[in-house]
């Protein structure tokens, strides 16, 4: 059980950190599409008898390549959608080959968070360290590029490269998180906490760390609730993420009232 908590904490922390940039760049679709694109990789890997993690990494990379390549020919959301459906259709092809249908698919899609073994912890630890290290190194140029690509370009930060690197970080976080929380939930961990954090503070570094903290709390709550009710963790993550987002929005819209109250106080 302790392995579950450790893995979930690592996954959530990375998701929160990466999620900060996802929200800032408005890249919600890419954050959703990349885990889904990686899913066929796990299916292919288990077909070939290879470590599923490798398959996830390869297909996540393919997803990044697909989005970047298509984004030169079409609008961003279209490129993401087309890249996604292509890789998913490959997933359908691979799935049609295997005989162990339901449990494996369900696990890939929604995660097997309660079944994490000691052996699986090491790759999670390695990948999360790599992801966080990358974000630390790229923090300033990526922040600049996220706020204003044109100005960043004039300051020597190449926009296209930053974009690919950003997607790459998301892909890395994806590959690490999918075996634990499943393709459909990585995304919720990236988006909900980061949105709430953004509503609470303006400062980038604080927002990023708050986002990681909130994600960890969220995942702990989800695991606990799942343990008590026997319902899937994914349900609670999705619900809590939505609550976090809307709480953030309510808090933000109350800002004028709070300011007025602060000014009006004698």
């Amino acid at each position: 059980m302790i392995n579950t908590w450790i893995a979930a904490t690592l996954v959530a922390a990375v998701a929160g950190v990466v999620g900060f940039f996802v929200v800032m760049r408005g890249a919600a679709f890419a954050a959703h599409a990349l885990p889904l694109s990686a899913f066929p990789g796990a299916a292919a890997a288990s077909l070939l008898g290879v470590n599923p993690l490798l398959g996830l990494l390869v297909f996540a990379a393919l997803g990044v390549a697909g989005i970047s390549w298509l984004a030169r020919r079409a609008r961003r959301d279209l490129a993401t959608a087309l890249s996604l459906v292509l890789l998913l259709s490959l997933g359908a092809l691979f799935l049609s080959r295997t005989t162990e249908y339901f449990q494996a698919t369900y696990a890939l899609l929604f995660g097997e968070i309660l079944g994490v073994s000691r052996a699986e912890l090491w790759p999670v630890f390695a990948l999360s360290s790599a992801s966080i290290a990358l974000v630390v190194v790229l923090f300033r140029p990526l922040l600049l590029n996220s706020v204003s690509p044109e100005i960043a370009e004039t300051m020597g930060v190449p926009a296209r490269l930053m974009d690919v690197l950003f997607l790459g970080v998301v892909a890395l976080a994806t590959a690490m998180a999918v075996p634990v929380v499943g393709t459909l939930l990585v995304f919720s961990l990236m988006v909900g906490p980061a949105s709430a954090a953004r509503a609470l503070t303006d400062r980038p570094l604080s927002a990023m760390m708050l986002s990681a903290g909130l994600a960890v709390v969220m995942v702990w709550a989800a695991i606990a609730l799942s343990f008590i009710s026997d319902w899937p963790v994914g349900f609670f993550v999705g619900a809590l993420s939505a609550i976090a987002y809307f709480a953030g929005r309510v808090w933000s819209s109350a800002l004028p009232l709070r300011r007025a109250a602060a000014v009006g106080a004698p």
Binding site: A28, L82, A92, P149, L184, P232
Partner: protein
């Protein structure tokens, strides 16, 4: 000529019941998806279109649980999702994607719960896969009347909405000034998209219905300048890809020793290669892509 035909089409194709059902339901899905998809692409709502598919699968799972017609489950959930997305509407595009994402996450969480209850309460195995990837050759013929009704209803809705939707999609400010209820039109667009997604979900499955929604539309927008032409073209391309995909999938049982390639893969492969072909020739040629399909200046969202 018959020799050539028999080379391409494996025996029994035209006579097969499942194939015929697949062709009809798939064809209707393709026509509706192509038509509404043109607006979805122009409005930059590909994520919303994809999200409707994901959330609708929760409806499919619910249908299994309640023992009702899966199409109705999809439809119901899709309409709810469309309403949620429009209810929490924001004006900035990146914000809009965030709302879409959050609704998706919540909807998928719900799907997770329902699928779990499916397994524990009944003994439906393979539910997750069927719901998400579709089982084109396993569509019950009894669904055809309902599918046709939904399809015709959706097309009528598009015809009625055509002018206001076009105006709202191309120039929302002008539409507002002219007294067009922009948000209502936006909601109706999403509802019709949900109808299209529900139809395609029966055929290619929820996850891949996005391909039918935006693929042919994207291709059509590269080829045609006028929206009306684009809609007709998108529907035609969608139907061609669907029927072509059905054919290839049927034939593939021969090459793969009885296993066969899934229809969803065949259809998406056709759509994707067609898109790349069209977009590629665009780059080399002089002809400019229409404004809706061209990438913006900066490289991020």
């Amino acid at each position: 000529m018959t020799m050539l035909l028999s080379l391409i089409v494996e025996p029994g194709f035209f006579a097969s019941g499942p194939v015929r059902t697949a062709a009809v339901v798939g064809g209707v899905a393709a026509v509706v998806s192509g038509a509404v998809g043109v607006f979805t692409v122009i409005r930059g709502q590909s994520f919303a279109g994809h999200s409707l598919a994901d959330v609708s699968s929760a409806g499919g799972a619910a249908a299994f649980l309640l023992g009702i017609n899966p199409l109705l489950g999809f439809l119901g959930m899709g309409v709810i999702a469309a309403a949620c997305m429009e209810l929490f509407h924001v004006d900035r595009a990146s914000e809009r994607d965030l709302v879409t994402g959050v609704v998706t996450g919540a909807g998928l969480g719900l799907a997770a719960l329902l699928l779990y209850l499916d397994v524990t309460m009944s003994s439906t195995t393979g539910a997750a896969v069927t719901v998400m990837f579709g089982s084109m050759f396993a569509i019950p013929a009894s669904i055809v009347p309902l599918a046709l009704a939904v399809g015709i209803g959706a097309l009528v809705a598009i015809a009625v909405l055509y002018r206001p939707l076009l105006l709202c999609s191309l120039d929302p400010d002008l539409a507002a000034v002219r007294g067009v209820p922009v948000r209502l039109v936006g909601l109706l667009h999403l509802v019709v998209a949900a109808l299209a997604v529900a139809l395609s979900a029966m055929t290619v499955g929820a996850i891949l219905s996005t391909a039918l929604l935006i693929g042919p539309a994207a291709i059509a927008l590269h080829l045609a300048k006028r929206p009306g032409m684009a809609i007709l073209l998108a529907s035609a391309i969608g139907v061609a890809a669907t029927w072509g995909g059905i054919l290839v999938a049927y034939d593939s049982y021969e090459w793969t020793g009885g296993h066969g390639w899934p229809v969803s893969f065949c259809i998406v492969a056709i759509i994707f290669t067609s898109y790349v072909a069209v977009a590629q020739t665009e780059l080399g040629g002089v002809r400019q892509a229409p404004r809706a399909a061209r990438p913006p200046v900066s490289s991020r969202d």
